[in-house]
């Protein structure tokens, strides 16, 4: 099998993937010829610490996200208890709150002179703990990111069929044994896929790390680039972040490679087991932790301040901001989903050499901080613009500083979110369908459009929603690439992040939640995604 298969599909795929990762490549190429001295300084001073910190934060976050994500998915899929539908729904809700918002809100609520501290002082206690620390980072990132695991793994759990589990139950295997020996291994592709997203989000997070004073690879990139004014060293650190991600992606691909999924629509779903009183109470307690801290508290905080500080906020400007956000996120997410289908399908029909990994390669942009991808796009688009201006004598830039640049940025950054879901869906359909259609003489494209896509409607919708919600929440990339006078809900909340206006801008935070909630709600209504 060739390492670099060359045919119409694969060549188009390479072109597409290359375009998506060009901003990341540009940053790194741009950085060649690293200045030895600054790089040496970074290696001697902060590098070891930031690599270790990044590892700690990743381990912690992945653990928290796994416990709540897998635990939540397991309890709501295999057991029935009062209000289980409501709980399945609420468990997904932290997804609509951006991590940096959860971070700021907890800094406010639990910080000095926040409501909790005031309450404790009123009780007569003098001492109070400082919450701006690394443990809180893990807690916050875990809360913000476990919904990826929950949503993706629940989709996989709910496809577990009775033909697989009944024999084990009949042979007297305990629930614990079934969970660890059957359910988890059967869904390991989804679990690892979801955790890959968690790892990438976590590596690229800047706002939370900065606020809570934890230096990771992401903050070190800013230190090198802007503080030391050395893009070369910044690129060096970026490439370390990339190595982290490539390792995780390789693990994921390996896990996926060994398993072949077949849909068994004919066999019945496993009936849910009723939880007893004590087990039920324990389940409630367990599920209430992520729901309360990941969603209810941030939501109520935002709602409270939105009401308290609402001063003729809902005006034409607000409507414009809402429309900007929804339109750009909508268009970008549609492009992302179709791009992901194209790349995934190409790898499906030509699973050789590098083409097999094209989806993973295209995901790399997800692991770099948004601002870094943003600078890559600036370099790219400005070069094109300046060339066009020199060549055709235009008076000003054509693509830089336009909505187009922004949409491209979102696609480059959030492709990873969609490819995961689309890959998974293709694998569940199985390759037999494809081969049958092909052997009957259908072209690749016809097979895709007539046979496979109709089977993937839910996965497509789900991928769309994941990308949409992420884009609505996105901040750093939007800040650096946006056109003049262009505000989204997230840039409006920037006033909250950057200055001390967090209470005044909470209506925009609330709006982010609402804009993200609606598509998520519609997806969950469809039950299976």
């Amino acid at each position: 099998m060739p390492f670099l298969p060359l045919n119409r599909w694969s060549i188009q795929t390479y072109f597409f993937v290359l375009t998506l990762i060009l901003p990341a490549i540009v940053v790194i190429v741009f950085a060649f010829g690293a200045q030895g001295e600054t790089l040496e300084h970074i290696k001697e001073t902060i590098l070891a610490d930031v690599v270790l910190n990044t590892l700690y934060v990743l381990l912690g976050t992945v653990s928290v996200a796994s416990v709540f994500g897998i635990g939540g998915a397991y309890l709501t899929t295999f057991y029935s208890f009062k209000m289980d539908k409501l709980f399945s729904f609420l468990l997904a809700m932290p997804f609509i709150v951006p991590a940096y918002i959860i971070g700021f809100i907890y800094g406010d609520i639990f910080g000095f002179y926040g409501p909790v501290h005031i309450f404790i002082m009123q009780l007569g206690f003098k001492n109070y703990i400082d919450v701006l620390n690394g443990y809180m980072v893990v807690f916050i990132m875990g809360l913000a990111l476990y919904p990826y695991v929950y949503l993706i793994v629940k989709a996989s759990f709910s496809k577990t069929r009775s033909t697989i589990l009944y024999p084990a139950i009949n042979l007297g295997a305990t629930r614990t044994k079934i969970f660890f020996r059957l359910i988890i291994p059967l869904s390991r592709v989804s679990i690892i896929g979801a955790l890959t997203l968690v790892v990438m989000e976590c590596i690229s997070e800047y706002g939370v790390m900065k606020f809570y004073g934890v230096d990771t690879l992401s903050t070190a990139i800013f230190n090198a680039w802007f503080g030391l004014n050395d893009p070369q060293s910044a690129a060096y650190i970026s490439s370390i972040a990339m190595i982290f991600v490539v390792s995780v992606l390789l693990i994921e691909k390996a896990a996926r490679g060994k398993i072949s999924y077949k849909s068994e629509k004919s066999s019945a779903k496993i009936p849910k087991e009723k939880l007893g009183f004590i087990a039920g109470a324990a389940a409630y307690l367990f599920l209430l932790i992520p729901i309360t801290f990941g969603f209810l508290i941030p939501f109520l905080w935002t709602l409270y301040y939105s009401v308290v500080y609402a001063e003729n906020i809902i005006d034409m400007e607000y409507v414009g901001v809402m429309l900007n956000t929804v339109a750009v996120a909508g268009v970008s997410s549609i492009l992302i989903v179709f791009g992901a289908i194209f790349v995934s399908y190409s790898a499906r029909i030509f699973p050789y050499g590098i083409n097999k990994y094209s989806g993973k390669i295209a995901s790399l942009g997800y692991a770099l901080p948004g601002a870094v991808i943003g600078v890559g796009i600036l370099i790219l688009f400005s070069s094109i613009d300046n060339w066009l201006i020199a060549k055709f004598n235009f008076e000003s830039m054509l693509i830089g500083g336009t909505v187009f640049a922004l949409i491209f940025g979102y696609c480059a950054r959030f492709f990873a979110v969609a490819i995961n879901t689309v890959d998974g869906s293709f694998e569940r359909i199985g390759i037999t369908v494809n081969k049958a259609a092909r052997s009957l003489g259908a072209s690749h494209i016809k097979t895709l459009l007539k046979i496979e896509l109709p089977l993937m409607k839910r996965a497509m919708l789900f991928a769309f929603v994941l990308a949409f919600v992420d884009i609505v929440k996105e901040l750093p990339l939007t800040l650096i690439l946006r056109p003049f006078n262009y505000e989204t809900l997230a840039t409006k909340t920037y006033e909250m992040v950057g200055s001390q206006m967090m209470y005044e801008s909470s209506i925009y935070v609330l709006s982010i939640m609402v804009a993200a909630f609606i598509p998520l709600f519609l997806t969950i209504l469809k039950k299976e995604y």
Partner: protein, 334 residues
């Protein structure tokens, strides 16, 4: 054909006419936008705005190069203005209005940038635990007396970078580094949060002194939230180094970009921002010190008293910015 398409795209995209000024700004206060509206009402010149952090805006200006649509760059730290000038992104401006409105030490010698507002980086202290007589200079904060008592932001803060750059200017790199090491030893916690979080912490008794910008103290003391005002009651303000080189100040400032195609309007805009009318808004709403000598600071700032400010040429902080960051990294000031 390609040319045709591009031309159409051009007319669809390019909407920057001569009666506009395109601004890249790091300032993000609602009062700024009110000011911009006032400027438009008075002159008919429309302000187009992109807000992001100075570092990112400088990247954008640099990459866009001579075709950048931006006319004005506004930052909240002098080192960023210096860096923009060094990269050739700002252009010279001579204006008698600006020379009158902005004192000499608050503008670039060659007219590449002008301060809009001032902020002093002062020592805030918990009045129950520290007496002002125990405070003297920034340098003294590194002494053992302040062990586990200091609260300060992380080294990502441009204000800390400029403060240490000023230490380098006054005391040399070796002493500045020793000072940073002493501060790290004296920190009450690993740096985290923003300036206002340091203030709340010393009010609560975690640490006793905080190195912060003045307007954060103003914001805390006049917050809409009763709990913040309660915290503010504990806070005293001390202007250090009154018997030596003076209290460190930083500026928010503006310059016309090298690529500007609306220079005249851009100049009018910067002149407007330094006018008495605009300076009053900066002073009253954001608790910044006005740069225009004709305008008084807000009543709250006045209540802290006058102070001797460090008159060092501000551009020098920019020249020493990278050296300052290295000092932070070397001494484990995260």
């Amino acid at each position: 054909m390609l040319k045709k398409i591009l031309l159409i795209a051009f007319f669809a995209v390019a909407s920057y006419s001569a009666s506009e000024v395109n601004v890249y700004s790091h300032r993000h206060y609602p009062s700024d936008e009110e000011l911009f509206k006032k400027f438009t009402a008075q002159t008919g010149i429309k302000i187009n705005l992109v807000k992001a952090s100075s570092d990112e805006l400088i990247q954008r200006l640099e990459k866009e190069g001579k075709n950048s649509p931006a006319d004005v760059l506004i930052t909240v730290d002098v080192a960023r203005l210096y860096i923009a000038k060094e990269k050739g992104l700002l252009s010279k401006l001579s204006s008698s209005v600006l020379d009158t409105n902005v004192p000499a030490h608050l503008r670039d010698k060659e007219g590449h940038w002008y301060a809009l507002t001032k902020r002093a980086r002062v020592i805030a202290y918990n009045k129950e635990k520290i007496k002002p007589t125990q405070l003297s200079t920034y340098e003294a904060l590194a002494e053992p007396f302040f062990r586990k008592k200091i609260m300060v932001q992380s080294s990502n803060s441009v204000y800390n970078q400029s403060l240490v750059a000023s230490m380098i200017v006054h005391n040399g790199e070796t002493k500045a580094s020793a000072w940073a090491a002493g501060i790290v030893k004296n920190m009450a916690r690993t740096p985290a949060g923003q300036d206002i979080d340091q203030l709340r912490a010393i009010a609560a008794g975690l640490g006793e002194v905080a190195i912060v910008n003045t307007y954060y103290i103003g914001q805390l003391m006049s917050s809409k939230r009763p709990s913040d005002r309660a915290a503010g009651d504990y806070i005293g303000v001390f202007f250090p180094n009154q018997n030596s080189y003076g209290t460190h100040i930083n500026i928010s400032g503006a310059g016309i970009t090298a690529s500007s195609k609306n220079r005249q309007n851009a100049q009018k805009f910067i002149e407007f921002l330094t006018s008495v009318e605009a300076q009053k808004v900066f002073a009253e709403v954001n608790f910044e010190y006005p740069v225009n000598p004709k305008v008084q600071p807000s009543a709250l700032l006045k209540s802290w008293g006058n102070f001797k400010e460090d008159m060092t040429e501000l551009g020098k902080y920019g020249a020493n910015n990278a050296a300052a960051v290295k000092i932070f990294n070397k001494n484990g000031w995260n």
